[in-house]
Amino acid sequence: MKTRNFLAIAGAVAFAASGALAQDMTIVSWGGAYSKSQQNAYHDPYMAANPGVNIINDESSAEAVAKLRAMNEAGNITWDVVDVVAADAIRLCDEGLAMEIDADSQLAPAPDGTSASDDFGDLLVSDCFIPQIVYSTTFGYRTDMVGDTPPTDVCAIFDTETYPGKRSLEKRPINNFEWALICDGVAKDEVYDVMETPEGQQRALDKLATIKDDVIWWSAGADTPQLLADGEVVMGSTYNGRLFSVIEEQKQPVAMLWDAQVFDLDGWIIPAGLSDERKQAALDYLYFATDTQRLADQAKYISYGPARASSAPLVGKHADLGIDMAPHMPTDPENAKNTFLYNYEFWADYRDDIDAKFQAWLAK
């Protein structure tokens, strides 16, 4: 307890010292093209409007949950705003590591006056989480390796006769189990009922077992794009923004298979336990960065859909390539004919259990 108090005091002193010089704000995100899109759409305009604020980028989102927990235990929180996926936000909220944010009173309404909570709608999946983008985990395939019949159905991944060659799938049960069950004949709205039961979980594993020898399991989002570009796999799952850059920026012979894409959300949380002053600054930043125009602006730099309904009509052309971004959004009606929304509630409960089974199955 004593060490904790000491650390808290040390942290407070350190902060007071730094706060006196300039208003630093540490924003944590994923790095790469994604952070660049945020720098262009949010950070630069915000700093231009608030000359007193200096935004520091930290690329630790992948370890954000563990680091926030460690910071919380040490009583010294050095981050102000953190970009995390929704599942992590729910976990952080459960653990009491993220602050609750009331969308209506603390965020900007849409230009036509619609309240923020209506504008975000169902995407406000946690009390602590302000969604920013909708991204999807979906498939890309090599156009030169599929012959005359390019796949249109997600079950092509299980069809090794028509599409021989390796496939890459993420090394975790989430999404793979859903796809396996659908391709095993389970109706879309019954997938989670089936997956709740041990028999259903086994069924998904059995379906995956039919292609186990043909799968390269990835753990970093950059793996599938690289494997596709090298011709190492014929098709593979990854985030749609990564595939966009393989197809449109690097001009590789790769095309999108949007069928049964799984929507997921990425957005902001504010760590719990900030001083009032920093909390206000963080909320002020969020008010700015999550308004309708800012969310639409981000789509100029990366092919992820804005989380606000009111932003969709404002999505324009890519800043460098000059192509229309709307058809590349996972939420575009043409792409979103058959979709899933990541089932946060289900996976928050079953993740540990199913992951243990999945890993045991992989190791066999």
Partner: protein
């Protein structure tokens, strides 16, 4: 001056017994030495030993359950875990009171996540029920059991209460049992379902692969170190730079380079196909399996073998081998009987370094290990950063630490730790 007849203690100049004043002087010396190293000692204690001890302690710590639900845990003691019925009203009333306080402190969801590691579904049960219980008017409720049943039928599930009562004490062996594929059942410790057993396999695999990597490092490193130690200085310095160059290159870069080399459309396969040694349709699978992990990690850890070997070999006088030869030994005998025994301390040091480093490696196996080449440390990393099950991660880490210390002890018994030299 008749010292010989003086039977009293020998006195020093200031009249104190010599023994005493020597002891004082020695103690002062020791204190001074201790003062000199005190900053370092404190630094290591605070930044290294204490965090490790704290982390290891988490492998048995379970106070979150009795702290969050103090009354429930006490009330639950009267309940028989072997009965297939839910506990009585008193327990539910205690739970309601505990939950109201926990919700106020927002610690009920944290407890839910903790218990979800033991029984799937508790996390959302606590989260969802929390929202309702917050609004309860405690005075106006007759039967808390009925209210809980109204919220969710799962509150009446005896399995839930069994889990709660199994994990109600301040300390638990549950994490350690989990990490060796066992679990606490109602009737003591039982093995986990076969489709959930994974850690024993991973421990065995980690040990086996670390030994293989260590062995291949010795095989590859020994000739290089021998060459380095026996070439003229100018040439050997150049070669040494070649050994160190990859050592200074980022680990991720080297791992990715191996991907480019080993994959099916990679450099090695392309060359083999071009030479006609391998058919285009039957390219070798050399990555995303154990082979890939062993190759990449041997390469990455090789300098840790070469450097101690090299520094030990440098100290072996050339004259010994020459003497052996002049006495009629063949090249092989003079190497095997004279040179090799003197280089054993270097092998020992290199082996310990490589083995201990590889047993805790996780980035390289994660990237090139596929499914059969991952280590126990990959699961530890998963539990630290993704599932937040730090208790289980700590238990796995403790076992790994104990395994390493045991092997170190065995090594000391067999080879002797005095026989290890870094130079």
């Amino acid at each position: 001056m008749s010292d010989a007849t003086d039977t009293g203690p020998v006195l020093s100049a200031d009249g104190k017994p010599l023994k005493k004043s020597l002891a004082i002087a020695l103690r002062r010396e020791k204190m001074r030495a201790l003062m000199l190293i005190a900053p370092l000692l404190l630094f290591i204690l605070i930044t290294f030993i204490m965090p490790i001890a704290d982390m290891l302690f988490r492998s048995v710590e379970n106070s979150i359950v009795p702290n969050t639900l103090p009354e429930t845990v006490v009330a639950l003691q009267d309940w028989d875990p072997n009965s297939d019925e839910a506990p009585d009203e008193a327990v539910y009333a205690a739970l309601a009171r505990d939950m109201q306080i926990a919700i106020e402190e927002k610690s009920h969801t944290r407890l839910g996540s903790r218990l979800n590691y033991e029984m799937t579904g508790i996390s959302s049960l606590f989260r969802k029920s929390g929202r309702q219980i917050k609004r309860w008017d405690m005075e106006g409720i007759d039967s808390f059991k009925a209210e809980f049943e109204d919220l969710d039928e799962d509150w009446l599930d005896p399995e839930l209460w069994k889990t709660l009562s199994t994990y109600s004490s301040k300390y638990t062996s549950g994490y350690f049992l989990n990490s060796v594929d066992l679990q606490k059942g109602a009737d003591g410790v039982v093995r986990r379902d076969e489709n959930q057993r994974i850690y024993i396999t991973l421990f065995k695999r980690t040990l086996f692969m670390s030994l293989v990597i260590m062995g291949s490092c010795v095989l590859l490193g020994y000739p290089i170190a021998f060459l380095l130690a026996n070439l003229p200085t100018r040439t050997s310095n150049l070669l040494l730079i070649l050994v160190l160059l990859p050592f200074w290159t980022s680990l991720l870069v080297r791992t990715s380079a191996w991907k480019v080399m080993l994959q099916q459309q990679g450099v090695i396969n392309d060359t083999l196909v071009w030479l006609g040694l391998v058919d285009d349709g039957a390219r070798l699978i050399m990555i995303n399996n154990q082979f890939g992990t062993i190759v990449a990690m041997t390469h990455i850890l090789l300098p840790f073998m070469i450097l101690p070997l090299y520094s030990v070999m440098q100290t072996i006088p050339v004259s010994y081998v020459r003497a052996a030869k002049s006495l009629g030994a063949t090249n092989w005998t003079s190497f095997w009987r004279v040179y090799f025994p003197q280089s054993v301390p270097g092998i020992g040091a290199g082996c310990i370094l490589v083995f201990i480093l590889s047993i805790g490696y996780y980035i390289t196996p994660e990237l090139v290990g596929g499914t059969k080449g991952v280590f126990i440390s990959n699961r530890i990393a998963y539990h630290i950063s993704s599932s937040l099950n730090w208790g289980l991660a700590a238990a796995l880490g403790t076992i790994l630490l104990v395994a390493v210390l045991t092997l170190y002890w065995v090594y000391d018994k067999i080879v002797g730790i005095d026989n290890v030299k870094l130079g």
